[in-house]
Amino acid sequence: MGMISRRFGLVAALVAGLAAVPALAQAPASAPVKGGTLTIGVESDFEGFDPVRAGVYSNSTVTAASLFYETLMRLDDKGNLLPGLALAMTPNEDGSVWAAKIRPGVKWHDGTPFNAQAVADHFNRLLDPASRFAGRAYLAIEKVEAPDELTAVFKMRGPNAALPKTLAQPTVTTLIIPVKQALEKGADYNRNPIGTGPFVFKEWRAADRLIAERNPNYWDKDKPYLDRVIVRPLPDSDARYASLVKGDVQVIWEDRAENIQKAKKDKNLITLNWVGSGALVIPLNTVKEPLNDKRVRQAISMGLNRKGNAAVLSQGLRPVYDDPYGPASGIECKDNGSLGYDPEKAKKLVADYGKPIKLVHTVTATPRGREGAQVFQADMKKIGIDVEIKPVDQTQLVKETLSRDFLVSGWRIIDLADVDPQMFANFHSKSPINFSGYNNAEVDRLLLIGRTSLDESKRKAAYCDLIKIMNDDVVWLWTGSNTDFAITRANVRGIPALRGGAVQVEAAWLAK
């Protein structure tokens, strides 16, 4: 119970923090100032802006793509749904069909009208197996139809409660592009995007900068406030931070703890913090020896000092929870069945197992991957489990993990507004992505409630019930939250929650 109250304490602190940060950034009482250029420093160059060609969008690409593209629905900082390109989304009786009422009068940047058919074309293209768009694995959509100009109908593979929130978070899947224009332009479109968004694409100098200018015909007449936005890939975190301090850029995405701690002490800078849903995780292969024995998995869970390790590895900036939901999911479980940190009990379980335990921990061959594996190895040694660290390339890790050719791996449940797509894909026994081989009929049943019930309280109860079972079964270990930081100059206002690590600037402005 002590752990639970700490969890609630952390959530409360986070909510207070989230409330404080935008308030500070938005400086109440002053109205937004129009004009000016905002330069954002991101970590990496962009994959491109055609989801089929790019395949995945990094958070740097989502930052840039959000300038041109928009989602059907939106989320406020508390996770409430707001209208976007759709005014509303309404389900049929069981949630197997959703109708999106499209906002009238919206135009693409080339002047052609945006309508329901464009929505249908976008999603149907991603769903088409011929496009090989891997993100379709998360979409529970069968197909999208456009019965009239302003109604897009989503036919789901079964009842689905999560669709509106899933479509509200900007991702490679949900940011809508004009398929007709993309196909006409071919490969060129990937580097010359057209959207409905607040800014119009101007220029992309590869590895240097992307320039966007205010869309004078934007449907929200008050926005955007800025005249121009420049997004610069600055891969070195120290140089990125120095560029911000000097004023070459006004906003940076940052993950280096030293720089974040420095920024917190600098009165010329504001640190924005977002703890999203999902988590950093260590998946265990529950069908391979010795991990097919629940005692071994429980020993690992009780022997791993997750909170102590996270405090060291992230300098206390990345909170750890006993579930993979995170505060942004809105799911708070009074009892999540966590086994807690208990190395003595872990040693007894190892002794009870009776055979020597040797594990191979596959990790990315990066400093971050190695550090995480080393603390895991040290903790396991204390309870009598030998761990061999196997550093591999990122794509090799993905390949080995998805093909179940692993014992212990390193993974992430990404930050999404609704937990259903990831939870169902990772843990339902019939899911092709359930690479831990977890098979529990009760968890399957609860996952289905989470997916299908239109009653939000029933859904939340189901997720709490299933995490209790999963924490006892120990399928994956939750080692840290999805925490993102951005640092801005003190005069930057109006940047919303950093969902998925993306910096969105539709409502941003520069104070005098």
Binding site: Y138, D236, A242, Q396
Partner: protein
């Protein structure tokens, strides 16, 4: 001409070996571009389909000779990642890297030559010992660290130069030079050390030659002896090292371009490696290798210009 033909033939063989070796190394690297493109959730069928589309399911040697045939006609293929022609990508980024290396080399020479000349005036004297210490200090410093130190010094502390970024010449020569100063300084401040030590050593040897004694006996001032009589015959090793150091400069440029966010060939290569964009890596490495070999070929030719004895020996062969 016989000598020249042999050199050209050698050049072609070296280039062929380099491209083949690069192809083999790049292809045995772990990782799969199809997973990078399609993401972690791609199905095995989708991955296999994309690999087939990219031609990655064919035998490695078949792919190499296909690539070589196209490369000889100037077509280095298209990036697996974003479809951009590799030759075009290199051409777009080459001016940035060339400018960086030329500026760095000039900074290095601009420091190395005067320091070496001052050092040999009194070998073992105060300036000589100080310059040797400074040289070893800079040589021991990794360029990524020097880059960050220079950023904090010149950008953050004194607010003199931009911390990162590149301004093309089309937006003004001054702004362009300002944006390239710190990156070039980062490379040049490490490069000068070797050049200085090599030149100093050769100058000391030359200063013991009879013709220098004669020049001194004629009553020429020490600076004229150094600049007009000793410098030129002492610069052979310097020129050799300049050619060989191009490799080091390119390696340094990869890191410096990353730190200062310059859109050069080095960053293109690094992006290609991270994304397992094998054809981009192959094209870029082959291009860099060809450049390296060609520059050293030109250095060979330069010996003949500087030293009549080399010219004579080549003519006889």
């Amino acid at each position: 001409m016989h000598w020249l033909a042999r050199q050209v033939l050698r050049l072609a063989v070296v280039l062929l070996c380099v491209t083949l070796l690069t192809y083999l190394i790049v292809n045995i690297l772990p990782g799969d571009v199809a997973i990078v493109i399609l993401g972690s959730l791609a199905t095995p069928q989708d991955i296999a389909g994309l690999r087939a589309d990219l031609g990655l399911d064919r035998p490695m040697l078949v792919r190499y000779f296909d690539w070589l045939g196209s490369a000889l006609s100037g077509d280095l293929g298209r990036s697996y990642r974003n479809g951009e022609p590799v030759a075009q990508a290199i051409a777009d980024r080459l001016p940035v890297s060339l400018q960086l290396m030329v500026m760095a080399q000039n900074i290095a020479l601009g420091i190395a030559v005067p320091v070496a000349l001052l050092s040999v005036r009194r070998p073992g004297g105060f300036f000589d010992r100080m310059s040797a210490s400074a040289a070893f200090g800079f040589l021991a410093m990794p360029n990524f660290m020097l880059g960050i130190v220079l950023i904090y010094l010149f950008s953050v502390t004194f607010d003199l130069l931009p911390a990162t970024g590149f301004t093309p010449m089309s937006e003004g020569l001054w702004d362009n030079l300002v944006s390239m100063t710190l990156p070039a300084l980062t490379l040049g401040l490490i490069e000068w050390t070797v050049l200085m030590r090599v030149l100093r050593s050769d100058l000391l040897t030359t200063l013991k030659e009879d013709f220098i004694l004669l020049a001194r006996a004629k009553g020429l001032p020490p600076w004229r002896v150094l600049l007009q009589h000793a410098l030129r015959p002492s610069s052979f090793t310097l020129i050799t090292v300049l050619g060989l150091n191009i490799g080091g400069l390119i390696g340094g440029a990869v890191i410096v371009e990353q730190i200062f966010a310059l859109p050069g060939v080095g960053r293109l290569l690094l992006g290609g490696i991270f994304n397992r964009d094998l054809i981009l890596v192959q094209g870029t490495v082959s291009f860099i290798a060809a450049g390296f070999v060609l520059i050293n070929f030109l250095v060979d030719m330069l010996y003949a210009v500087l030293d009549p004895r080399v010219r004579y020996a080549r003519f006889r062969s």
